[in-house]
Assembly symmetry: C2
Homo-oligomer: 360 residues x 2
Amino acid sequence: MPLISNDTEGRKDVKPLALHRLPATPATVHWGYFDPALAPAIRVKSGDLVHAEAVTHHAGDAPELMMDDAIHKIFTEIPESDRTPGVHIMTGPIWVEDAKPGDMIEVRYLSMVPRFRYGANLAANWGYLYKEFNEQERVTIYQIDADGNNARAHYAYDFQGKYLTPGKITKCPECDRQKALEGVRIPVRPHLGTAGVAPDVKGRVSTIPPGLHGGNIDNWRIGAGATMYYPVAVDGALFSIGDPHISQGDGEISGTAIEASLDVVFQVILRKDFHFPSPLLETADSWIVHGFGDDLDQAMRAASLDMLHLLNEHQGLSRNDSYSLMSVAADFGVTQVVDTRQGVHVRISRGLFPPKGDRR
Amino acid sequence: MPLISNDTEGRKDVKPLALHRLPATPATVHWGYFDPALAPAIRVKSGDLVHAEAVTHHAGDAPELMMDDAIHKIFTEIPESDRTPGVHIMTGPIWVEDAKPGDMIEVRYLSMVPRFRYGANLAANWGYLYKEFNEQERVTIYQIDADGNNARAHYAYDFQGKYLTPGKITKCPECDRQKALEGVRIPVRPHLGTAGVAPDVKGRVSTIPPGLHGGNIDNWRIGAGATMYYPVAVDGALFSIGDPHISQGDGEISGTAIEASLDVVFQVILRKDFHFPSPLLETADSWIVHGFGDDLDQAMRAASLDMLHLLNEHQGLSRNDSYSLMSVAADFGVTQVVDTRQGVHVRISRGLFPPKGDRR
């Protein structure tokens, strides 16, 4: 990659990169929604770097471990009435100069560093096995090892009442804290649960269901080293990030990951040379296509059709060849089953393909 | 692993391993069904090795490349009326001495070697995107490189008529052969699409839908180096193998993999020391639990409940801890969507867990 030829030979100049700082403050976050009418927090040009803060809406699950003054300010200054219709604290939006509907923005995620050494997992009322757990919600606080490789459970507690709106600050007395997952080590996979562009709609769109604009995709592969391509729907793209995670499994079945604030560096590149209908992920060795639907079957169908499109339109395979290749070499996975709209992703190795022009 | 302690200290003797040869012949295969009333092809003791032939029911898609006299004999001597209600050529069954309902058999797959250098993928009428391809079925013949690392498309042809019953011998004239997937290389993943024990039912059970007995799981990880645990349902277990594949993606969306005969070496071990309700896969670094259902949502639920069971009952985690761990570290994938009963598998790394007794 990049997906489409990005020939650097013969270029005349190498421009110095611009770096924008985007801290999360009550003025630079929007809580629970995307909205094309929102004023940009910053404006960037294609190629610029952004160093942004992504703050978890679960920071209040262990405020003594997961909050500082700046996050506390967000939690106290943004009224609950303005955190709607979704739940995620989104940093942005970022105006990308000259971005128009029909373009793509390529976001190269370069670095994701935990802000604290703690994160929270909630077995939530929207979790997949809520009934099997007698409708008892439970918080497990995880600690990241000093070397940043693994997380371990720090303590857990049963949540009192119903966890209706993330964003509350919970006081769990010492006496209620229980040991959890003793000795179990979980490799960290820092990533953004939610990131995307403003959809072309009137008014607010919830951050909860993922969609063609990106949003709450909850694919743990959207971490440092990954590149996402988002289809631009409105002028300026209006890209925002939020819902940072330390680790998540495919499925996210309890309803949440290990939710933890991250400092994120990424580069935004405006692409007018190709279009793709849904959020597309590129890693060092794979392309991953996302499908969404009211259930897994719908999501599976959407993912299969968009992978067919990728192979046919962008790799230049015939439709017949694309279909056979998908059956023998593409791997479908369950992204999540807890975000109202469910997700299936499908991965194909980039290493399968010969260089263009070399079809031997 | 093994899943349950397999302490070898203090053992008195190391028995020489017995090796059974089980070629596929009209007398040692059953086509399209499991049946607890079937007479065993061979009888083995716990610990014995078996060197068996698994023959693809798609050998007739390129008879000049995928058949020899022994396979031709199977295709011609077993009447079509006896290939029912499923489609797979199963080698066996193997009687495991002293196996009783409630036991498990552990099958360690040691080696899977292609019998020929060719395999067939069919875009079938039962494929996931059959309608999107205007109900045209198509065969793509793949060739395995001489070094056995990769497969490449050799030629393809549109199937004439409807591919109702695999097991026919197709003559595709040279003139109908088309180039396909030029330059694309597909890493091989030799594995058994179908393997399992006889279910406890009266009469024949189709090999097409997978189930608690194993059967047509179509997980490409069931290859050399993998160990499967199957719950025994009838005396002697009556284990059979078939439906060999060279490569398949998670999903198997065209309806088939690269179907190709394999010679398989495996060891059968009778386990009376633990029970698991569904076919369980163990690899070098993972445990993988299989769920099945009429759709992906049912399969997802079954897989999630059985993974909860594995962590709770066999790893000794509390139910709460198991649930949190699954959400942050277990990966759900789509096994297949084309075998009548759909499949979801869920993987957890064995490396997460401390040695028993070391919970620091």
